[in-house]
Subunit: 487 residues, 3 copies
Amino acid sequence: MGCVQSFREICDRQKNTNVRLSLPAVCFVWQTAMIILFGVFIRYNEESDTHWVEHRKANNISSDIENDFYFRYPSFQDVHVMIFVGFGFLMTFLKRYSFGAVGFNFLIAAFGLQWALLMQGWFHSLDYTDGKIKIGVENLINADFCVAGCLIAYGAVLGKVSPVQLMVMTLFGVTLFAVEEYIILNLIHARDAGGSMVIHTFGGYYGLSISWMLYRPNLDQSSRLQGSCYHSDVFAMIGTLFLWMFWPSFNSAITDHGDGQHRAAINTYLALASTVLTTVAISSLFQKHGKLDMVHIQNSTLAGGVAVGTAAEFMLMPYGSLIVGFCCGIISTLGYIYLTPFMEKHLKIQDTCGIHNLHAMPGVIGGIVGAITAAAATESVYGREGLVNTFDFEGAFKDMVPTRQGGHQAAGLCVAICFGIGGGILVGCILRLPIWGDAADDNCFDDESYWELPEDEESVPPILQYNNHMRNKDVEDSNFTMEAVRT
Amino acid sequence: MGCVQSFREICDRQKNTNVRLSLPAVCFVWQTAMIILFGVFIRYNEESDTHWVEHRKANNISSDIENDFYFRYPSFQDVHVMIFVGFGFLMTFLKRYSFGAVGFNFLIAAFGLQWALLMQGWFHSLDYTDGKIKIGVENLINADFCVAGCLIAYGAVLGKVSPVQLMVMTLFGVTLFAVEEYIILNLIHARDAGGSMVIHTFGGYYGLSISWMLYRPNLDQSSRLQGSCYHSDVFAMIGTLFLWMFWPSFNSAITDHGDGQHRAAINTYLALASTVLTTVAISSLFQKHGKLDMVHIQNSTLAGGVAVGTAAEFMLMPYGSLIVGFCCGIISTLGYIYLTPFMEKHLKIQDTCGIHNLHAMPGVIGGIVGAITAAAATESVYGREGLVNTFDFEGAFKDMVPTRQGGHQAAGLCVAICFGIGGGILVGCILRLPIWGDAADDNCFDDESYWELPEDEESVPPILQYNNHMRNKDVEDSNFTMEAVRT
Amino acid sequence: MGCVQSFREICDRQKNTNVRLSLPAVCFVWQTAMIILFGVFIRYNEESDTHWVEHRKANNISSDIENDFYFRYPSFQDVHVMIFVGFGFLMTFLKRYSFGAVGFNFLIAAFGLQWALLMQGWFHSLDYTDGKIKIGVENLINADFCVAGCLIAYGAVLGKVSPVQLMVMTLFGVTLFAVEEYIILNLIHARDAGGSMVIHTFGGYYGLSISWMLYRPNLDQSSRLQGSCYHSDVFAMIGTLFLWMFWPSFNSAITDHGDGQHRAAINTYLALASTVLTTVAISSLFQKHGKLDMVHIQNSTLAGGVAVGTAAEFMLMPYGSLIVGFCCGIISTLGYIYLTPFMEKHLKIQDTCGIHNLHAMPGVIGGIVGAITAAAATESVYGREGLVNTFDFEGAFKDMVPTRQGGHQAAGLCVAICFGIGGGILVGCILRLPIWGDAADDNCFDDESYWELPEDEESVPPILQYNNHMRNKDVEDSNFTMEAVRT
């Protein structure tokens, strides 16, 4: 062990965070590839194409308002905010990694959504008449969803990887996501409106496995930067709140027009509300003097939205949503208190943002809740047509029955977990190669490595500089010391 | 007086902000109660239920886009942002109470909206055929509105109460709100689209009365924390702007489909714009060297949205909206300059956020403007149908005439004031009990009491620690001092 | 030169930032003028008037959802957020000018949109039957657009002008905008959905010319304040992200119902995504050690949205959007690295926010892209009806052909540039008068001049105060020094 450690130290000493060639290369090459692939494959669909007017008349659609744009666009914008501001700012809680949190989140999301449009397009929107992918607003939403999976994974390795590693992680993550999604939704015919399984379970385990592969035994060397500061915690609350507020749009964005979107929004709204109360309760109960911990408020309050994702479009019933939120607030907060330290100590999984408590666990719960709710569906509650619409018992699946659907839901959950863990280990191996420019153990959680930082009086409190001097100086010549400080 | 003071000091010394049992207890018990009550009473309405398709065909509604979800959802999300980010961040201006501002706002809003769905549901959405409350997106908006009343009240006691007191305040606040709302809108048949009376007047006086009951003579002991710091003022501007931008959605969220929502949005947009200019004018005019005061920019710029709330859906005319905003910017800013200090000094009302200037006064103005506009309504301006639609002269009120409606509006305003003051005094008495874990006078406006704070170099500027040492040390042994600082 | 400098220094010494009379006067007088003009000219249009119901039946419009409000309102709110939070926070990057950035942005936008409703109304929404301007939600969007032009200009003079100068700048800016817009869209019949020409090119050159007229040779005297600090950079990212996320709404807000809005949103979404990657690439490539520069991430990532503004509603094709974004990310970032310093050094144009790289240049590119895309339009791609709808080949222009339309687009671009430069020089002359209360060269970029600032330990790091003392004190009597610091 000792020798391994010393070996690691040698590696670390050799570590070089200069990404001056690798990062521009990756960005240019991949963006160019995107342009070529978009040129070959991607076109507007009939609702975003100038032929819409003719299409409308041909299908005697009475009005432009019937264009899917008006059903989906408001939800799309809310989801978009969750991806860029929500995820981005939620990760700004570290005292010196706010640039990396919001900046790299921005970079990988912008790349990921392009690649997602292609990958998901090939599986879901390919027009076989001309071999083109036809895109509309729903594709944009799905691309954002796909990116969310990778941003969740980023949470586990926040502060420990280089932007180049993140790009690689996103490239593979999106690819795995698209395949996994196709298997779960189309082959297994599981329903997953809010992506409890497809997005959160997959993304969570994907990130945790990568973090496990990239385990850093000496990470405590950067413990000085692993905490938050007062204002960085307030910035993180911006992320928390925009995720919390727009989650109803997230879970209802691609559900059926009409009652489907309506019901999904209500269920999510309620689940999130009850999560907040139980999170506060547990956070206070387990702290000395009952003081609240910002980490719990920033993260566990969102667990209800994750867990209600699959069942949001079902007849979960308002009280059902509250119960789901109630349990997730408790489980998620306890996860932060007990599980995260345990995983770091015994399982060698370093989970910076605690995505296991916010995404992986609640995602699994969401999958189970979805399976049960589906299996329990009855015609008396849903109505004949309602049952068919909600579970899409049509075409190849017109003989499907709720109980069986429950089984398919469970199967979908297993696929998500397998893809997450398997894919994460695979990608983790790739990311271990010493070519990616990640920081040494004692330079983690520091924007210094990848960002030009402003000389910022606030960043290092002057008295500390002062003390550093005092340490090796005799007080007598404090005059010189003062000189030193002034410069 | 002296003895009273010393007595108070004794009480204060005995004050204990430990809420480790009370806070979790309140959260768990009340959330459990919510689940039970929701289980008994709350179901989806016909537009969010799976039977929607059949309902649609039965009522030959041509398209899913006719589902109320598409009329209301974008406004709902805007209102939701106002409640959680708007109110939450508006209160982060205090230098060391940002966690409490945004965190407790989050907690009480999440609880309040559940209780509001029940209380308002019993009054407005009860289906007598099966005794269930049927909810849809409009109920969610109304729940957010109801919560707004309590968050306004929170502004008056910000930094001086415990989270447990806030929960109690919210429980009673929502209850009073629902009753008052029912009396004003249904029994008196006053119109109040943006809630100038129902939300702002009630919430404002409710909070002020509570603050009056909880008067702290020695609050100056925490004056060191009663100010803002540079970044906390910028955070507060996030709240201001999101409230300001989305206020048109707030005032139009539950108005009539079509022209009603359209007109309410326009009127609010204009009123808010002119408020900004007069606020800046007064702020500059009354400061030495004409410097602007952030407190005014953060708060008074919003007064126009409050004051146009009732009349927003009427034919107030664009110039009418501008006039309302013009006056409110002046009155609200003058309120901050003269009234707030006066109230604290002579009326023993300590109003942390100045809600009297931002909500109570403008709310009353809004009620009066509404009454006048309604009384002045004529068929020549509104058109026959327009008049009936706008004022809902139907059913029991089909013989109503505008002049009389004006009287009813005025009556509604009085009810709102009475409920606010009466309810506030009542609840204030309850909150005076020494069991709620509120902080001592010299510990107000400090997150330390209820939050685990990061050890944060920035929070206490190191030189001060340094000085603290110098105070009781002789300069000679500064070597020891330096040791002390370093640790 | 020396004497000029000394002369300037004299002027500067005489400079007085007291706006206690001028600022309130301007606000009151102009707001009163607005009220009068609104009273004379502005009314609700048929969709926001109570007669809507009758209008609906008369034109047998089947449902309220056909009201333009439901086509435009979500986009309007997104644009509104871009104007107030987007532009406002994007400019908060300076370490001590956050109040001025977000506060003055708020002030001039609130005034500008009222004046814009009148100016644009006279040109576009005048009802000749009664001489009134009839407004609806589309007018609100256009007013926000118009204001955007002035806010762009503000970026160039940020920190160097007084609020009074900004009000004057906005008054003239809006006036020039409305005229230029009328010439470009109505007389020349150029199409400009996202305002690459009308908004960004005009606004960019307008601001740059003003900044050129107000050249400050001794601006380096405030160089200490010209940088950012860690948290101010994070605040600026809030502005960046809200601009970036809602830009698809900006470019699609006033395009044709149906496919027009749908396509514009998709094109903008894609252009922005690819801009992010090339911006990161160039930023990293040109920095020592490949570290990223926040200035580029905050600004250049938005260039793609500007450049795709004109062509967004055309059949630009998804890959076309990616190509536009690809180029703009590169050009804009290089602009920050080479052009901005060059312009300051040799052209005497001090561009605080680098609007030339974010708005002017990309705007011109957008105009050219629009001209080319229009000229290349064919019936085979657009379809007969599609071509007519997209380019509005109706009425006086029913014989128009794409190639000729391309020429008109180019002509429009020239008009925008001329108005920007000409107007800017004119207004710059006015703003040079010594009556406006702008700050001296050594007081620029400092909120101190126009804002009551909180005494803020963080603002001036205490050790510096300490050093200032040490400078003129002998270390021996440090006891006294300590006294001095404590107070």
